[in-house]
Symmetry: C2
Subunit: 160 residues, 2 copies
Amino acid sequence: MKTILKTMIIAALTASGIAGGAIADGHADKALMAAIKARQSQMQVIAYHTGLLGAVAKGEAEYTSEGATAAAENLAAAAGLHRELLWLEGSVQGTVEGTRATAKIWSDSEGFEKAAMGLEKAAADMITAAGQDQAAVGAAMAGLGGACKTCHEAYRGPKN
Amino acid sequence: MKTILKTMIIAALTASGIAGGAIADGHADKALMAAIKARQSQMQVIAYHTGLLGAVAKGEAEYTSEGATAAAENLAAAAGLHRELLWLEGSVQGTVEGTRATAKIWSDSEGFEKAAMGLEKAAADMITAAGQDQAAVGAAMAGLGGACKTCHEAYRGPKN
């Protein structure tokens, strides 16, 4: 199943011009780089909304139910993206430029999935908290930060 | 309501270190730049999955219900993000570096909302099509491309 997806993705990226060039041993990594760029964009969306919620949690930004809920829902939407299209096997630190993804993401795919589900759970909890009050956002922030840390410590390599 | 959100965002970004620095006339645009980066990341996620689906539509990549549905669902999730946290007033071409967003986004906010809802509708239609077959994806691609074009023509300025 994963192989079918990867084949589709490499063909699609190459054909659509996102990756460019013909499919060949030397060109497949363009598809990987496009996937890396997409998932780093996903992380950017997550980081932006986490920053908003973090400041609300600290009391450095005004809590409003509307604003906090919107931020939490955006965070959850980004966290919930299907991962198989973004984490292509081979898009790993040391093989492709510009990523800190470790090989363990694929060798320990169950653990990675569990960590990612931890983020989804933390984001869902944040939506609930965001509708309550500033203190609830603060409590949920601990879970959210923990989910980020768990995954980054286990599956992100050192800075280049 | 929009003002409350903007105040929250500027305070949050500044306090959380995403924007950095104290809130002052000269520093508020750091919050705008963070929002611009976040929405450009959103667009990147949309473009990546549109590229996958476009290649399936053209028959250049193999159609699978699973792969096409995952791509369409990711596209819809990105398209459906709450816009008020991303399109901050003032984050406009000519005022802040690195954006092609035109002033019309805010002066014609109803029109912009309508165009954005057009993308959400096209993404929802793509999910339906993705579960059917390659021809359905092709038909839905026309609507998706049209939604992109409508918004870009009306609300995106020239390249710098």
